[in-house]
């Protein structure tokens, strides 16, 4: 090997990301500035959401040197009122790549908190300035760090650290990075505006490099219910995930050492007393329902060994051969290996087989997945052509693949549990839109939970018409997991659904001032591209969006016809007050009269009809 000219070096994650920063959205100063803003703002909002705190997020972008032309260094600061980060975690959280806490199956804006570290890394390589992190989890003392990343070693370098007293809880992150605000500004402003729209429970402030300030005070004071972490849905699972789930549920025969014996004694309430074998067994069967699994296994082993605690402490279990029904152990006292037959008729035999071979397939399905009951599990095993009582510990690789495939294909599973989703809710969406657009007509709808490929999703939609909306034609705001999707809208499923609707059927002109807000939340949004700006047109999602839009359009149509009626009445009144006096004037001269006829009462009558 030493003669080989090629050398294989392991690179650190920091190094990897440094070399592939384009992937994470840091390809040029314009895009990088925008991506950095997004990462920090989304982290701030996620942190507050998870802690159940109404977010108050402050974002500022300041040029280091106003006079310099773009691209140039900017200081980007994002401050929140969230739970902060424990001082001891800060260096690792902000000074290493791939250190995060956002794991688990539930909806969040970002996935692993990687983006923020990428932004810090990008800032460091373009300006060679440290990231400044100030955190106060308790609102009393604040830790301030200045950190640099050691890219090769993927380790934080603490440049400065101090602690001081403060009065506000929260986290502030400030980086210096090369950016191009003149090009990224519009996009960032759009992002902030739309984020405020979809986060009406947050106060968001943005000060841009030109000194312009955007400020949106929270419109609603209730937070959407936080999502919960849940078991996976069978449709959203692959072989590797199943293997891991099995390993999690796999249960080894516990080592029967002194510590374990103490535990058994304690659970049996025999801390002090020393009972013989049969007394122990009797006690155990009485207390069986309250015993922990470890203890039950030990008791089961003891039942075959027919030993008390003292004898038990002098042996070591070597093997449990369930297939041949043999239990082998090493007797320290006798210094020999002993094997005894296991009686399959014994009530403890089952306990041991369960432990060694893992649970049955039925049990695995019903306990490890969401929304699979006994009946469904049985039906599924028939479908998959697997034995319901098959122990998962004994499954071959082939059987695993078969299981995984069948889980994808079986159609009788209930749709995924949406409790891991956190839609905004109709009321907050409505209030937000009301505040933002001040329309004449506003309606919102939240569809019931649905799923595509095992991932639950919920579509929320709002429609606003007229009022202060001055646009010609419709404006569509798209959101996914409370993140605005700003660009690349051409092939987006929402746009597809909106464009396919025939507005004339709903008494809406094509140039009517219309705003449509669409929010899809899911544990996994099916983005079409790496840019995460458009959602793929999965039929299930398309259907939900279409139903939502049709519902809203019908409401709008009702409004339009009512309004059309009112407008007609108004037009009518206007026409009468214009023409009747003219008619009176003309016919007076024509009739050769001096005084005009008393037509005023007619106009009054008209007014009454109108009311």
């Amino acid at each position: 090997m030493s003669s080989s000219k090629e050398s294989f070096n392991q690179i650190s994650p920091s190094e990897f990301f440094y070399r592939n920063r384009d992937l994470a959205g840091f390809s040029n100063p314009t895009r990088s500035l925008y991506t950095a803003v997004r990462e920090f703002v989304e982290n701030a909002l996620d942190a507050c959401d998870q802690a159940g705190i109404l977010p108050d997020v402050y974002l500022s972008i300041k040029a280091v040197d106003d006079e310099q032309a773009d691209p140039k260094p900017y200081i980007l600061t994002v401050k929140d009122n969230g739970p902060g980060i424990d001082s001891k975690h800060i260096p690792l959280a902000f000074g290493t790549v791939l250190y995060g806490s956002k794991f688990g199956l539930k909806q969040a804006r970002g996935m692993f908190g990687l983006g923020a570290t990428m932004a810090i890394l990008y800032g460091q390589i373009t300006t060679n300035k440290p990231v400044v992190v100030k955190s106060s989890p308790d609102g009393q003392s604040q830790d301030e760090y200045e950190l640099l990343l050691d890219i090769q070693k993927n380790k934080p370098i603490i440049v400065k650290h101090n602690t001081k007293e403060v009065s506000k809880r929260g986290l502030s992150v400030s980086i210096c990075l090369e950016g191009d605000y003149s090009k990224a500004g519009a996009k960032i402003r759009d992002y902030v505006y739309q984020t405020s729209l979809i986060t009406p429970y947050a106060t968001i402030t943005f000060e841009d490099p030109k000194g312009e300030k955007f400020h949106q005070t929270k419109i609603v004071k209730t937070m959407p219910l936080p999502p919960t972490i849940i078991k996976p849905h069978p449709h959203g699972i692959d072989v590797e995930t199943i293997r891991r789930m099995m390993a999690d549920s796999h249960f080894q025969i516990p080592t029967v050492d002194n510590k374990m014996i103490e535990k058994v004694r304690k659970e049996l309430g025999l801390k002090k007393n020393n009972l013989n074998y049969s007394e122990i067994m009797e006690k155990a069967s009485k207390r069986w329902p309250g015993l922990s699994r470890h203890v039950r296994v030990v008791i089961a082993v003891m039942s075959f060994l027919k030993m008390d605690f003292e004898k038990l402490s002098k042996i070591r279990i070597d093997d449990m051969d369930i297939a041949n029904k043999i239990l082998a152990y090493w007797d320290f006292g006798e210094s020999k290996s002993v094997s005894i037959d296991l009686d399959p008729e014994s009530e403890y035999y089952k306990q041991l087989t369960n432990t060694v071979q893992g649970e049955t397939l039925i049990s695995f399905l019903t306990k490890r997945f969401q929304r699979i009951g006994q009946a469904t599990a049985v039906k599924f095993t028939a479908f998959a052509n697997l034995k319901p009582e098959k122990r998962i510990g004994t499954m071959t690789n082939q059987e695993l693949v078969k299981l995984s495939d069948s889980l994808q294909k079986f159609e009788d599973f209930l749709s995924p549990d949406p409790s891991c989703l956190a839609p905004l809710g109709e009321e907050p969406l409505k209030k937000g839109m009301e505040q933002f657009f001040k329309p004449d007509f506003l309606e919102v709808v939240q569809r019931g939970a649905s799923a595509y490929s095992g991932f639950p999703f919920i579509a929320e939609m709002g429609i606003a018409y007229g009022g202060e909306i001055k646009s010609v034609g419709q404006t569509v705001y798209r959101f996914a997991n409370r993140i605005p999707l700003l660009y690349d809208e051409g092939s987006d499923v929402v746009l597809k659904v909106v464009n396919e609707i025939d507005w004339t059927r709903y008494k809406v002109k094509n140039d009517a001032p219309l705003v449509i807000v669409s929010h899809i939340c899911s544990t996994r949004i099916p983005y079409k591209t790496v840019g995460k700006e458009n959602v793929a047109d999965r039929p299930e999602i398309e259907r939900e969006l279409r139903l939502a839009l049709q519902f809203l359009a019908r409401k709008l149509a009702t409004f339009m016809s009512k309004r059309g009626h009112a407008e007609m009445e108004k037009k009518r009144a206007n026409l009468y007050s214009k023409y009747i006096p003219l008619v009176a004037q003309f016919c007076t001269e024509l009739a050769g009269k001096k005084k005009e006829p008393d037509y005023k009462k007619m106009l009054k009558m008209e007014a009454m009809v109108e009311e």
């Binding site: 008619v583 007076t588 009739a591």
Partner: protein, 367 residues
Amino acid sequence: MKNKSKKISKTSEERRESLARLLQEQGLKIYSELDRGEFPKFSVPSRSVSNIVYDKKLRQYVLGNTASIRSARNMSQLRSFAQLIWLAFFANRLVQEKKSSTLRDIYYSSQAFSIDFEDQPESDNIIVDLEAVLARPREDLHIFPEERSSVFGDLTIEYTVPGYEGKRTNLSDHPDGYLIGPSLSSAELVDTSAELVIAIEKGGLFTRFVEEKIDKKFKAIIVDTAGQAPRATRYLLKRLHNEMGLPVVILTDGDVYGEHIAMVIKSGSANAAHLRELTVPDAKWIGVWATDIEKYKLPTIPMTESDIKRIYDLQKDPRYQEGIWKKELEVFLKIKRKAELEAFSKYGLTNITDKYLPEKLEIAKSL
């Protein structure tokens, strides 16, 4: 002669007065409806094709009994209702002040009274509505189209237009003839030595006829209809026939359109089915007939597709079911050729006046 003119003068004055009464009646009706707090309305005879019927007795198209109510209550009719009452009001002023106006004038005048017509066709249409309501031609209301035709011959008229009241003119005083305009239309017809009216389709021939002194040779008043006769021209022809007792003969190109020009003078057009004042049922078409084309060996032009289609259309018209009207159409269809009045020039410029006209006038006596 003096006696006759006085009687005529009274006729013209009577017409004006009855129109004034008619307008006032309409005004009073609407006035009292408004005063009672009711929505005023007009009954407007329907001018749709289904309501236009041929009256054999009157020998012209007339409107049937269908009428629509135009009410101020109906929002979609309110505007046109107001337009109609405005037009009546404006026409009343014109009549009272003896002023004349054109169709285009009406369109613009409306704007001074906050009555808005979208375009001239809209105002033209309202004028026809008012004609139908009053059963009077717009010329009576002193509203004239732009198109003008001419008249020449020994006819003395007395103007009634302001500034010319009582002034008399003889229509043979100017060799180009006199425009048949508002002042001539409203003038009293005083005296004539003529015994015949010759209506001719083309201005060129009209001039030839004046030059050849046809007015003297045949004791005729010559009228240039300038193609399809304008209503003022038809109105004059009618007056010459009714008030002065002159027979009317018509000379047109030898084609289906010429034949129909003659027919419109004789029995009106479907467009003016709501009016009864514009026809001369006794007028005679003397040429150029289809049979004349062969008889006089006139140079011809082949008919076009639309010419032939027009023949088929007219053959369905009740007025073309008998006499020369029917016969000539058939011949046109057979020869599929047509000849213009100028075709006679092949045999010399005066051939038409020297030879053709006398022969045709002779034949006319037996029509």
